[in-house]
Amino acid sequence: MKIGVLVKQVPDTETKIRIGPDGTDIVREGIKYVMNPYDEFAVEQGLQIKEKQGGTPEVTVVSMGPASVAETVRTALAMGADRGVHLRDDAFEGGDALATARVLAAALRAENFDLVFTGKMAIDDNASVVPTAVAEMLNMPHVNLVQAFELAADGKTATVRRRIDGGEEIIECALPALFSCEKGLNEPRYASLTGIMKAKKKPIEEKNAAALGLAPGTVGAAGSGARRTRLLPLAERGACKFVEGDVREQVRTLVGLLRNESKVL
């Protein structure tokens, strides 16, 4: 059994976001990059399956991006993944979600994974597109927002619990398949010191557009149907209006404001 995990390197959640001078990208200096938090659930899930199967399944981490992305791949290797594939080419830069999915799908096609895990969403682009799009490009079934995962004894299907609006679905899915992971699926482990040491010797293979058989016009900015035109700062909110008096007065004033000033009641 071969397990693939798609991870993305993103700015840390605490990053202050400022619009850069060109108006279409953020200021990149000083940003601390981390593994997308939802992808940690994906790595953990892959590792748990490997362990349950006596360590035989190989867990491969796949990530796209510039040189710094190797650190994130290394983090997953330190958690326990076996090898990394780093998709790196200037031609990949500036792509929309579908152009990125095209690169990842090409890499996955060459690997023939039985199981693919990834986070439900990257916390930088917030698109939730890549998991479904990659699966569709590979003509593979997918289940998004997975909160519980159980592999059948014969390894041919998985039964998963998925979050939907107002409820949950229990889905049985034939493999090979792709699953996007939601918070609550598991508790991602921290890399141990031995894990970090071992990761230094684990292989990370770099692949560019040519190695993946992708024409430059189909990936990155050139292959994107949605072009980012500019970044817009958030609309400023007015100052907070504090209601005064004792509790009853405060409440009465508040209800009056909601009713007559903002007209939401």
């Binding site: 979600a97 229990i170 907070c240 209006k241 508040l254």
Partner: protein, 327 residues
């Protein structure tokens, strides 16, 4: 030739989900500039009432892909049906609501149609040439990004709930039933659907939300939050701290690792206002904060502030609203 717009609506318990009418309103907004025809589609079984509702709210044609084989949701079967319809009817712009349903389908349909795609859209600016500019919050709402989907490509967009008001009643479109059925058996099969909100308003599409933080101190104490939400006909939310403490399920968490919500009224009770929470609710139209600590960061994002003990303020607010709203 302006692009035909296809609105993908969804049903819930046999009826039309409110987001369908919002998406219809978004489509009409685009059509007002481009002169496009607005059509809509439903996939499922027993769609008559929902299809009629769309036809009575401004869809010129409503396609009802209605068959017992579509009764249970299937990503694969629905993707196939929607892509086929969009292709056969020459839809140039396909609009979804960014619900768990829309999120699951829009990327797959966009891949099949070789379309340009932007999800979770909070603003639509149609161009005279048929291009479509859209606004999508990135970095969990810390900044907005504008994208251009060009005129010469199929455009697929999913709209965040509560951005557009539902389309008002008016118009008498026709319903076209399509006797299609699921062709190849799906590889991912829904075996069971478990409801968690029990008929209550779903957080993502609630128009009014009352949220509680860790200062509620227990799951039981959330009763006062639920009472206030009920009087308002709204949903209950919670901060990550309250969820981590076990007071509320994760399905109610508002914030970076929970739900991003966009209601008309958001009342934050005993929530300090960590960035993790703010990014999940700060696009709400009106925000009320109730907190003991006047220097809590939540007040910088709120429109109205009540400095006080939530255990005193919230029940009195509930009583006052009962009278005001005549309940």
């Amino acid at each position: 030739m302006p692009k035909n717009i296809l609105v993908v609506a969804e049903t819930k318990g046999g009826g039309l989900r409110k987001t369908g009418l919002e998406t219809l309103a978004a489509a009409k907004h685009v059509a007002a500039t481009t002169g496009a025809e607005v059509t809509a589609v439903l996939v499922g079984h027993g769609l008559d009432a929902a299809a009629a509702a769309l036809a009575q709210h401004g869809a010129a044609v409503v396609y009802a892909i209605d068959d017992a084989s579509y009764a249970t949701y299937s990503s694969e079967a629905y993707t196939e049906a929607l892509s086929r319809l969009a292709r056969e009817r020459g839809a140039g712009c396909v609009l979804f609501a960014d619900t768990s349903f829309g999120k699951d389908l829009a990327p797959a349909v966009a891949v099949r149609l070789e379309a340009a795609l932007v999800t979770d859209v909070v603003g639509l600016d149609p161009q005279a040439d048929g291009g479509l500019k859209v606004v999508h919050p990135i970095y969990t709402g810390k900044v907005n990004a504008e994208y251009l989907l060009q005129a010469n490509t199929v455009q697929v967009v999913s709209m965040r709930p509560n951005v557009f008001m539902p389309a008002p009643e008016g118009g008498s479109g026709r319903v076209e039933k399509l006797a299609w059925s699921v062709q190849s058996p799906p590889r991912a099969v829904v075996k069971e659907v478990l409801a968690t909100t029990g008929g209550k308003v779903e957080l993502g599409e609630a128009d009014r939300i009352v949220s509680g933080g860790r200062s509620l101190k227990s799951a039981e104490n959330f009763k006062i939050i639920e009472d206030l939400a009920e009087v308002l006909g709204g949903a209950v939310g919670a901060s990550r701290a309250a969820v981590d403490a076990g007071y509320q399920p994760h399905s109610r968490q508002v914030g970076q690792t929970g739900k991003v919500v966009n209601p008309t009224l958001y009342i934050a009770c005993g929530i300090s206002g960590a960035i993790q929470h703010l990014v999940g609710m700060r696009t709400s139209k009106v925000i009320v904060a109730i907190n003991k600590d006047p220097s809590a960061p939540i007040f910088q994002t709120a429109d109205y502030g009540v400095v006080g003990d939530l255990f005193e303020v919230v029940p009195i607010l509930t009583e006052e609203l009962k009278t005001t709203l005549g309940k």
